[in-house]
């Protein structure tokens, strides 16, 4: 199992622990805007980009659905496929919100993933840097920021 690659160093240890304890095949930690923070199990930046875009869209839709149903936003999603399962959930560390999406198979179970995800959340809370600004950015180079995080995870495209 390879180590996660991260755009922010402080999430590396908890993400690795989650990956190992919950026996996840792959996973991405991201901001709700879709900006990737860390990943494991992927070798292709384009795959992570798509996953981030889709995960952030699913999260946005689920929150709106929850709101429209006059309830609270939905924070967790689980899809069971024939061979693999997808787990998606929100993790809050202080005022900062993250999304996590992970894939597992028969080597794990939803119950196990939930248990260790709960521990992962607590670890993020504990490790959140004091000077970590909440990721609400002004209208500057938004797309640049999205892409720079991918560069941090995979290395800049075209540069070896």
């Amino acid at each position: 199992m390879t180590n996660p690659t991260v755009a922010e160093a402080w999430v590396a240890a908890p993400l690795k622990r989650l990956m190992e304890d919950a026996r996840l095949i792959s996973g991405v930690l991201l901001y709700p805007s879709g900006r990737a923070v860390g990943q494991f199990g992927f070798s292709n930046a384009a795959d992570v980009m798509s996953i981030c875009a889709l995960t952030s869209a699913i999260n946005a839709s689920a929150r709106e659905l929850g709101r429209q149903l006059d309830g609270k936003p939905f924070y967790e999603m689980h899809h069971a496929g024939a061979e693999r399962q997808v787990f998606m959930a929100r993790a809050a560390a202080g005022a900062q919100e993250f999304l996590f999406v992970g894939v597992f198979d028969r080597e794990s179970s939803l119950g196990v993933v939930e248990i260790y995800f709960s521990e992962f959340q607590k670890a993020l809370e504990k490790l959140l840097p004091e000077n970590q600004a909440v990721q609400v950015r002004p209208s500057g180079d938004f797309e640049g920021e999205l892409n720079r995080s991918l560069d941090a995870l995979f290395g800049p495209i075209g540069k070896k």
């Binding site: 805007s33 879709g34 980009m49 981030c52 875009a53 946005a60 709106e64 209208s139 999205l146």
Partner: protein, 201 residues
């Protein structure tokens, strides 16, 4: 794809506002929403980031009233413009009946306009739709910015409008050109529905 219910005599069509990031797609819908009377519109849903960048889509249902005996409804969508959100942009295009391409008139955004237009064509083709014939209207937005920063309308038209579809100058932030654009695409979509091939089906 338009939904035509002959039993209840209802037509529902889907229009997608497409274009590069921050070209004014959401602004178009916001203006439409702000100007229409309550009985003609539904709730506008915006799935966006905290800095109001569209994450998935904006959605605005419109009631156009009765046209040729059919209660006619339009569903307006926008897509996220950033290249990063390509996967979700594709999803929003599914079932589209007409497209408004909102171009950013700033000269420095021309490459983004072109890239977005190419992306649109590729996604339409993936959906099995012919990019050459789908109802399309071009909107050249942000005409209120200083002239020195803008491409001329002719430059924009020559570079982007190779199909020669209707095009409108716009300043969506104050509503200029917004309803003209919407009227135009609505007309194109409905005309297509009433074309002989559509009638036979």
């Amino acid at each position: 794809m338009s939904v035509v219910n002959y039993g209840t005599r209802e037509i529902t069509c889907k229009i997608v506002y497409y274009g590069p990031g921050r070209s004014g797609k959401t602004t178009n819908l916001q203006h439409v929403y702000s100007q229409l009377p309550e009985e003609r519109k539904g709730k506008m849903v915006s799935l966006a980031t905290e800095t109001d960048r569209t994450l998935f889509f904006d959605f605005l249902p419109l009631d156009l009233g009765t046209i040729s005996g059919f209660a006619t409804r339009f569903q307006l969508y926008t897509v996220p413009g950033q290249v990063y959100y390509a996967a979700t942009r594709k999803l929003v295009l599914q079932g589209v009946d007409g497209v408004v391409f909102v171009a950013d008139s700033q000269a420095r955004q021309m490459a983004e306009n072109i890239e977005s237009l190419q992306d649109l064509h590729a996604n339409l083709a993936d959906e099995g739709l012919d990019p050459r014939t789908i109802p399309l209207v071009m909107q050249y937005n942000k005409r209120d910015l200083p002239a020195g920063e803008l491409s001329t309308l002719e430059e924009l038209d020559e570079t982007l409008n190779f199909r020669g579809v209707p095009h409108y100058a716009a300043t969506a932030v104050n509503g200029g050109g917004v309803f003209e654009t919407l009227r135009s695409i609505a007309s194109l979509v409905l005309s297509r529905l009433s074309a002989p091939a559509a009638r036979e089906s």
